[in-house]
């Protein structure tokens, strides 16, 4: 049972940001991750500020130039079912559909999915770890079967989002509203690796709100997918996954590709070497193997997560061939 907190449900963005500027406030969008964190004591809240009343943050809009704007309060269920997303941004639909459970998808928002805290069991559990301001990363000498093989630095979480890798592969940008301004940045720049700051996963200040996700108009020859491998059939975060977005010529050659891994690093993990190598190639068994190798280059497995190296190989091969 969660400790007491006050509650505000501001009627406007201005008011919401004003509230969030106060100390001890936490943002409530869908609420699924917030309540979990409060229950586990990951952090506390003196006041919960609900942005559920900001209806301008809901909905999927397509502009005349074909670009798409997704309000941050759009639920994962809405994303997974939206005909535009399904057709033109398949990776995102698949990412959203692969997350959590049907009920959580009805409640969880896209913004929340991008901003969610890690699932590391030391972080979530009764351990005063580095990310929470303590002195030790318990994963280093402990049960690290679900921790990272890339990008670890003092902290070894994996980023839990399935929509983030898909969105990065699709070239998404995000709009951030703050007290004095609003800015738009590539989603890739939204995430913060532990090498930069071990106490946070994204760039938002406590009084900034992620309001929209912007997707470029899809090229006519674009195809995308998101494939996730997990330990049980539903309701489970990725052991590893891959989001692919490719522009493929009529001749079958890959014009451009983006490859983004999930479940392997503290941020969604783009593999530029693999992307470069794919350009100009045909999708084939050979290309798939080559890409897979490039995706595991430089991996630094921990004591119990070495399986992720082969898993990444396998899931990348499978996903690439699946887009043939």
């Amino acid at each position: 049972m969660i400790p007491k907190f006050d509650y505000e449900r501001p009627a406007s963005m201005r008011q919401a940001i004003k509230q969030l500027t106060l100390p001890g406030t936490r943002l409530h969008a869908g609420g699924t991750d917030l309540l979990g964190c409060l229950r586990d004591g990951v952090f506390g809240a003196e006041k919960v500020v609900s942005i559920g009343g900001l209806s301008e943050l809901r909905g999927i809009k397509r502009a005349s130039d074909g670009s798409v704007t997704i309000g941050a309060l759009t639920t994962l269920a809405q994303l997974a079912a939206d005909p535009i997303i399904l057709r033109h941004y398949t990776a995102l639909a698949q990412g959203a559909l692969s997350a959590a459970s049907p009920q959580l998808r009805n409640q969880g928002t896209l913004g929340g999915n991008l901003c969610q805290r890690p699932r590391c069991w030391y972080f979530r559990g009764d351990f005063h770890c580095l990310r929470k301001g303590g002195g030790v990363c318990y994963a280093v000498g402990g049960q690290n079967q679900y921790h990272c093989i890339f990008g670890g630095d003092a902290c070894y979480i994996v980023h839990p989002s399935d929509t983030a890798p898909a969105l990065i592969a699709l070239g998404a940008r995000v709009r951030i509203e703050g007290p004095s301004n609003s800015k738009t940045i590539p989603l890739e720049s939204f995430f913060v690796p532990p090498s930069k700051d071990v106490t946070r996963e994204h760039v938002l200040a406590p009084n900034e709100i992620l309001t929209e996700v912007l997707l470029p108009a899809p090229a006519p020859n674009q195809r995308s997918s998101y494939r996730k491998v997990r330990a049980r059939g539903a309701w489970d975060f990725a052991l590893a996954g891959v989001a692919l977005c490719m522009h493929v010529r009529d001749t079958g050659e890959i014009e451009r590709a983006r490859v983004v891994l999930s479940g392997v690093a503290p941020t969604p993990w783009r593999v530029p070497d693999a992307e470069t190598a794919l350009a100009g190639k045909l999708i084939s068994e050979e290309t798939a193997k080559l890409t897979a190798e490039l995706c595991v280059k430089g991996a630094q497995p921990m004591e119990y997560n070495g399986y992720k190296v082969n898993l990444v190989r396998g899931v990348v091969e499978e996903a690439l061939l699946g887009l043939r």
Binding site: K4, W121, G125, R232, D236, N310
Partner: protein, 767 residues
């Protein structure tokens, strides 16, 4: 309280009242065996069934328990001053409270601990409890208790617990007594006679019950009388333990559990929380409800011990087993508990030379409780994979090898014969229905997916020993009341028992009122567990119903002036069997109106003389292994069970698939993980990280194949237990299928994609 879970062998048969009426076995039944909806399905689907979690009494308080967060620690400071003054708080109980020094966890020399033991030997050990006006306030106050511990060195692993210098969990070290050795014949000789000898080490993970309804109780005093609603499998066991603990006569302790949300063995014994609720209720003079949290349920209400099993087996080329040697190391946690596993090795197959050595050690983790077929899934995991390996070695068909060694008697019970053993039919008919032969021969590969099928056999080894009594009451209008003590833990007990009454009295199910699981108002029944609920209760119910019919016909005979032999009870009417034909509805029988009720009492009979009745099973699995990702998909499954007569085809099938589901968890997704190198705490104490099977983890293609040997000796209903056999060989069948698919023998359960990938990589390297 002491875990009195019985040894599986050597129990006395129940004592019963004289005379013992032997009822003839049923032939064709008109109600029993049919697919009938549960008599209480309405209550459960409408949301109107009141479980312990749902009990709301006027003036009721809610309690929260403060627990030690460390694997091993001594309480250094406990200050409740701040907590006591928090809003809504009515009482706080600690070790210092009057009467709190209640012995708990018993060893050979007596009590090893107490209710709020300042020496905390496992994460989750109880330290204090708060009663407040709302659960929120109770938890606020529990969090506000000022507590400090001296953290002690801990041990989290059975093998480490045996090492020199390992931290001692209990005084006297980490071994629980001497290894339990059982032997028959001469294994050295047996191995010498074998044409093939194989040896392997298998490991299983700690599986945790986690029933859907949380553990908990509501306690209410009326002066010196205590009423407890408890989510329990056995109200009489709880009553007995509570009465002993609180030093009360049984007549002052009433335990009720009419609806309970699952137990699987974790709710067979008195919980500390129940005693705490009783105390807090006394302290406050208000009813107190105490429900554990889901996180608690992983730490302190039992588990299936993890085991390391070394198994050596010898076989002749013709398939005869010559020797079996099992050495098992298990850990039942911080206090004495049963981690034995050897039964199947000792009794499933014919083998003259068998030696089993079982060691239980203490670790700083929650104490084990029996979990659905305790020890059996672990042993099947080892034995049934070994049988497959032997079959391969001597080039014998795996089903043939098993059939070759099926006994007709129990070797651990001085060769007492089985009343029936349908194991061969389970294997043969199961194989036929499953399409075994073709699936074994078919090519295994389909791109990156490898397909395979596997089989595993098993039995369950306990026929149950306590008595049971049932009362059937006929109302003057011909409707009936059935009074039994058994909890219905989800197995459909109330329905099956009502069907027995319906069978004997011709009363339709909707006219049978069932009362159960209340120590004050219902008859004694053993706890629902051990696959003996139908076995213990149905025969008693049958006898009670038959007694009602006997009395009824006698009364009708008086009124209708016809001999009893010419009368029958059919369709709710007394009918004459010869001319002149008369059919008299019970509601028109004057004598019934004058006596008002007819009461029949039935008791469980002793076990069949000189024989033993046990259930048998064979499971068949088809798997698809994705060699790129390590994912193992269970494509289809068949469960062939000899559990004697099928009492209700619908609930029987549901039980079977339920057991298979739990077996899939054991095989593929479940396992407690402790932070063994650093804090000893459980890292996956929630339902996200401790992964029980979801709807996506069970195959859509599942077949339940009952094999009924028409056993007329086991008891007067011909039924044998089902709940546990349904989960014993599941994991082994899956592992055998994985081997068939990939050539990889997975000896460590669970078979996760993580492990599969590592093993596939190793195989790739070896090639």
């Amino acid at each position: 309280m002491r875990n009195d879970y019985p040894n599986y062998v050597g129990q006395d048969a129940p004592a019963t009242k004289r005379p013992i009426t032997k009822l003839p076995p049923w032939g064709e039944t008109s109600v029993v065996g049919k697919r009938l909806a549960r008599v209480d399905a309405y209550d459960r689907v409408s949301g109107s069934a009141v479980y312990t979690s749902d009990v709301i009494l006027p003036d009721m308080l809610y309690a929260a328990i403060l627990r030690c967060p460390h694997a091993h620690a001594k309480l250094k400071r406990l200050n409740i001053t701040k907590a006591k003054s928090m809003p809504g708080v009515r009482a706080i109980m600690t070790d210092a409270s009057p009467g709190a020094n209640i012995p708990w966890f018993f060893g050979e020399k007596g009590a090893l601990s107490r209710l709020f033991d300042p020496h905390c030997r496992y994460e989750g050990d109880e330290v204090a409890a708060v009663a407040a006006e709302s659960p929120y306030e109770a938890w606020d106050a529990a969090r506000a208790i000022d507590v400090e511990y001296d953290i002690l060195p801990f041990v989290s692993d059975a093998e480490e617990a045996l090492e020199q210098g390992a931290p001692a969990v209990q005084e006297g070290g980490n071994r629980e007594g001497e290894p339990y050795v059982r032997e028959r014949g001469d294994v050295a000789k047996g191995f010498a006679e074998a044409d093939a000898v194989l040896e392997e080490t298998y490991r299983t993970s700690c599986q945790i019950h986690t029933p859907m309804e949380l553990h908990g109780s509501v306690a209410q005093w009326d002066g010196g009388r205590l009423t407890v609603w408890d989510s329990t499998q056995g109200v009489f066991d709880i009553q007995r333990s509570l009465a002993q603990t609180l030093n009360l006569p049984l007549s002052s302790v009433r335990v009720i559990s009419r609806y309970m949300g699952g137990g699987f063995g974790s709710k067979l014994e008195l919980g500390k929380y129940t005693v705490i609720a009783a105390f807090l209720a006394k302290m406050t003079a208000q009813p107190v409800k105490i429900m554990l949290t889901r996180e608690n349920s992983f730490l302190c209400v039992g588990n299936r011990p993890p085991n390391t099993i070394k198994l050596k087996a010898g076989v002749k080329n013709d398939g005869t087993l010559t020797a079996l040697h099992l050495i098992s190391l298990g850990t039942g946690g911080a206090y004495p508990a049963d981690s034995s596993v050897s039964y199947l090795v000792r009794d499933l197959y014919l083998c003259p030379n068998v030696r089993t050595e079982e060691t239980n050690v203490f670790i700083n983790a929650g104490t084990a409780r029996p979990m659905r077929a305790p020890g059996f899934p672990q042993c099947a995991w080892a034995l049934e994979q070994m049988m497959d390996a032997l079959a391969e070695k001597i080039r014998m068909e795996p089903i043939e090898l098993r059939i070759k060694n099926i006994p007709s008697y129990s070797q651990v019970r001085n060769n007492r014969p089985y009343t029936s053993i349908g194991l061969k039919d389970c294997l043969v008919e199961g194989a036929k229905t499953f399409g075994w032969k073709r699936a074994r021969e078919q090519p295994r590969q389909d791109g990156t997916i490898r397909r395979g099928v596997g089989v595993a056999a098993a039995m369950w080894g306990w026929e149950g020993e306590p008595v049971s009594t049932a009362i059937v009451k006929l109302f003057p209008d011909g409707s009936a009341n059935l009074n039994i003590g058994a909890s219905d833990i989800g197995t459909g007990t109330k329905t099956v028992m009502a069907m027995v009454v319906a069978e004997e009295l011709g009363v339709p199910l909707e006219k049978i009122q069932v009362e159960n699981a209340d120590t004050a108002t219902t008859q004694y029944a053993p706890a629902s567990g051990g696959s003996q609920t139908v076995v213990a209760n149905a025969p008693a119910v049958r006898k009670a119903a038959v007694e009602v019919r006997t009395q009824l016909l006698e009364l009708a005979s008086d009124e209708l002036k016809r001999p009893v032999a010419e009368l029958t009870l059919k369709d709710g009417m007394i009918q004459t069997l010869s001319e002149p034909i008369r059919k008299v509805p019970l509601s028109e029988l004057k004598i019934l109106g004058r006596v008002q009720t007819i009461v029949g009492v039935g008791h469980r009979d002793p076990h069949p003389e000189g024989k033993i009745a046990l259930p048998f099973v064979a499971h068949f699995a088809e798997v698809e292994v994705n060699t790129k990702t390590g994912e193992v998909r269970i494509a289809r499954f068949l469960a062939a069970h000899d559990s004697g007569r099928v009492m209700n085809r619908l609930t029987y099938e549901n039980q079977v698939f339920g057991g298979v589901t739990m077996g899939i968890g054991f095989a593929a997704t479940e396992g407690r993980i402790l932070d063994g190198q650093q804090t000893g705490k459980m890292v996956n104490a929630n339902w996200h990280d401790y992964k029980i099977p979801t709807a996506m983890d069970v195959p859509l293609d599942e077949t339940c194949l009952p094999i009924d040997p028409h056993d007329t000796e086991c008891n007067n209903t011909g039924s044998k237990g089902l709940g546990e056999p349904a989960t014993i060989p599941t994991a082994a069948a899956i592992a055998n299928a994985v081997y068939h698919a990939t050539g990889i023998r997975v000896t460590h359960a669970p078979i996760s994609p993580m492990q599969m990938l590592a093993l596939l990589a190793e195989q790739g390297e070896r090639r």
